[in-house]
């Protein structure tokens, strides 16, 4: 069972929900932080890190001895990662997606690939939680290869909770892809509602069932509630805007550890999610992205 926690807008409480949910379960659980640009789960979980593995992307290496500067590689590359200027071929590694096309098209076989490190994966354990998170190297533009690597740790026999990055573009889809259910964390403000609507559109398109967690309930306005009612979207949990919760967050302490009644609320949230996910599987609207996947 894979549950992803997403929001569209940043800073609405994705990490808070993912961490508190994982901590409240008394069983063995996997927690994956797919926000590899700014991973924060480890700040709250503070695991002992047992394993650090580099993430590589294959990048072209041109043998200037063999290259005759025909420019075919540069012409082929969709990502403008190779330029041939006069009698020099220049590779821009940060732009390379690692498709291997340049190697295929080079008539002189002058291009080989070498592994370039773009990030790391860290694994650790804290209590009942196995934490896996990625860190994109600063200056690297593409988080997706690191996200894919984080997700290779998923154990289908366990409960896996995924903390999804903010936004609505490719890293978000990559993180949610394959989930049985998605929790949308929002806040009752115009910004929160706007970005939640974008996420609803996406989740419908990729056919992942979802429900909403309203964080900072009490601030802003009531429009998010009106929208959920009109669209028939279940609100599964409300976390009030309370000074104590905000203070605990600011020092990196998951609030369910300090306010124990929340553990029960998060446990019932998960059982609710499990029921809804299996109901949705039974009704046939499963998680395929496109036919044939």
């Amino acid at each position: 069972m894979i549950v992803s926690v997403a929001s569209g807008k940043g800073g609405t409480g994705k990490t808070t929900v993912a961490v508190n949910l994982a901590l409240s379960l008394e069983k063995d659980v996997q927690l994956l932080d797919c926000d590899v640009e700014e991973p924060n789960v480890h700040i709250f979980i503070r695991p002992r890190i047992d394993e650090v593995t580099p993430v590589y992307l294959p990048t072209p290496k041109i043998d200037e001895g063999l290259c005759d500067h025909c420019g075919k590689c540069s012409e082929f590359c969709e990502f403008h990662a190779i330029a041939v200027v006069g009698n020099k071929a220049i590779v821009f590694p940060e732009l390379c997606h690692g498709c291997g096309g340049c190697v295929l098209v080079c008539p002189k076989k002058a291009i080989a690939e070498e592994n370039r490190q773009v990030g790391v994966i860290k694994k650790g354990v804290m209590g009942n939680i196995e934490l896996v998170y990625g860190e994109l190297n600063v200056g690297e533009p593409m988080p997706v290869p690191v996200i894919r690597e984080v997700k290779t740790s998923i154990d289908p026999n366990r409960t896996t909770i995924i903390d999804v990055p903010p936004g609505t573009s490719c890293p978000v889809i990559e993180s949610i892809h394959g989930s049985d259910y998605c929790l949308l964390v929002s806040e009752p403000t115009p910004f929160g509602l706007h970005d939640m609507k974008l996420m609803v559109e996406i989740l419908k398109e990729i056919k992942v069932p979802f429900g909403v967690v309203v964080n900072r309930a009490g601030i802003g306005d009531r429009k998010i509630y009106d929208y959920c009612r009109a669209e028939n979207i279940p609100i599964l949990l409300e976390i009030p805007f309370e000074k104590r919760i905000a203070e605990l967050y600011s020092v990196g302490i998951p609030f369910a550890m300090e306010i124990p009644e929340w553990k029960n609320r998060f446990r019932s949230l998960l059982s609710n999610v499990m029921e809804r996910a299996s109901a949705s599987t039974a009704s046939g609207s499963r998680r395929e992205l496109v036919k044939g996947t």
């Binding site: 569209g8 807008k9 940043g10 800073g11 609405t12 640009e37 700014e38 924060n40 700040i43 709250f44 082929f76 969709e78 990502f79 997606h97 690692g98 498709c99 291997g100 096309g101 295929l104 098209v105 994109l136 600063v138 200056g139 533009p141 593409m142 988080p143 990055p165 903010p166 936004g167 609505t168 573009s169 490719c170 890293p171 978000v172 889809i173 990559e174 403000t189 115009p190 910004f191 706007h194 970005d195 974008l198 559109e201 996406i202 398109e205 990729i206 601030i219 802003g220 306005d221 905000a246 203070e247 967050y249 600011s250 020092v251 990196g252 992205l289 496109v290 036919k291 044939g292 996947t293």
Partner: protein
């Protein structure tokens, strides 16, 4: 022409609230919303669209099943696992063209895909360039580069000396595209463990691109000890803290009213401190107002 980009690393720290208020204080300025996949600046600036155009993202492979001989070469050559049977997964396909290259019978072609829209608008504080990346699309960096290109054209056309860009969260491609070529990065943080952690990564990114950075601590009073640590860290690194904005319920009220807080409630505590930040930013940029001198 000067360009300031407002970023944060962590989402939800107040980038858009501050950008909108800076625009209101500048009175006439070019605004660029570089958060193209979860854009919300328009909710505060109410832009009236003047022109719009389609944004072509990466290409998408497509298999002509009538010609396909099902040899499987494309599937083996695809590094992104985007071909299953005779179907292309539009989410996984990066448009590199390797499948079309290896296909022995020419059954695969690459098609343009419309990945979003780019808008040029007029707001009560000056012209604005912004965009909407369609849900699930990739290439946000490319669209951000277009938004900034249009912003520079608008500044030239209208003789305006300053561009304010509202950046996305994270440190990946759209953030890099928002920062490159800007004169200063203004990093908005909050005094939480996550805010501080993400600030350090955002600062190293700005440093990586050899940019001048400055910091705004938002809701500084929710954890004064962390604010002190952030200020101390910035001092050690030689980074100017432009302002410390207090927690103020007027900020959310202004968002609900759809206005920048300095316009909605010019005398509130948050507005007073945002003006201090604006004066500091103008000093760093060496501009006295939005108008070109």
């Amino acid at each position: 022409m000067k360009q300031a980009t407002i970023v944060s690393g962590k989402g939800g720290t107040g980038k858009t609230t501050i950008t909108a208020s800076f625009a209101a204080l500048a009175r006439r300025v070019v605004v660029a919303d570089c958060d193209v996949d979860a854009a919300v600046l328009h909710l505060l600036l109410d832009p009236q669209v003047v022109t719009e155009q389609e944004f072509k993202g990466s290409r998408l492979a497509s298999i002509d099943t009538a010609r396909c001989v099902e040899c499987g070469l494309c599937q083996r050559a695809c590094r992104f696992d985007a071909i299953r049977g005779l179907e292309i997964d539009p989410v996984l396909c990066e448009g590199c063209g390797v499948c079309a290259y290896v296909c022995p019978v020419g059954a695969i072609s690459l098609r343009e895909r419309i990945a979003g829209r780019l808008y040029i608008s007029e707001t009560r504080f000056g012209p604005m360039s912004h965009a909407r990346l369609y849900a699930t699309e990739a290439n946000s960096g490319k669209l951000v580069a277009l938004v900034r290109h249009e912003a520079r054209r608008l500044a030239d056309r209208e003789g305006l000396g300053l561009i304010l860009a509202d950046g996305p969260p994270g440190i990946g491609c759209p953030v890099i595209a928002s920062l490159t070529g800007a004169d200063i990065a203004i990093i908005v943080t909050e005094p939480t463990m996550s805010g501080f952690h993400d600030l350090r990564r955002a600062l190293s990114l700005a440093h990586h691109f050899k940019m001048t950075s400055s910091v705004i601590v938002n809701v500084w009073d929710i954890n004064q000890e962390n604010t002190r640590r952030i200020s101390q860290f910035c001092e050690q690194e030689g980074i100017k803290v432009l302002a410390r904005i207090p927690f103020d319920p007027k900020v959310t009220e202004a968002m609900v009213a759809g206005k920048p807080v300095v316009e909605y409630s010019p005398d509130c505590m948050a507005s007073a401190e945002i003006r201090v930040a604006w004066d500091g930013a103008r000093d760093l940029l060496g501009v006295s107002s939005g108008r070109r001198e």
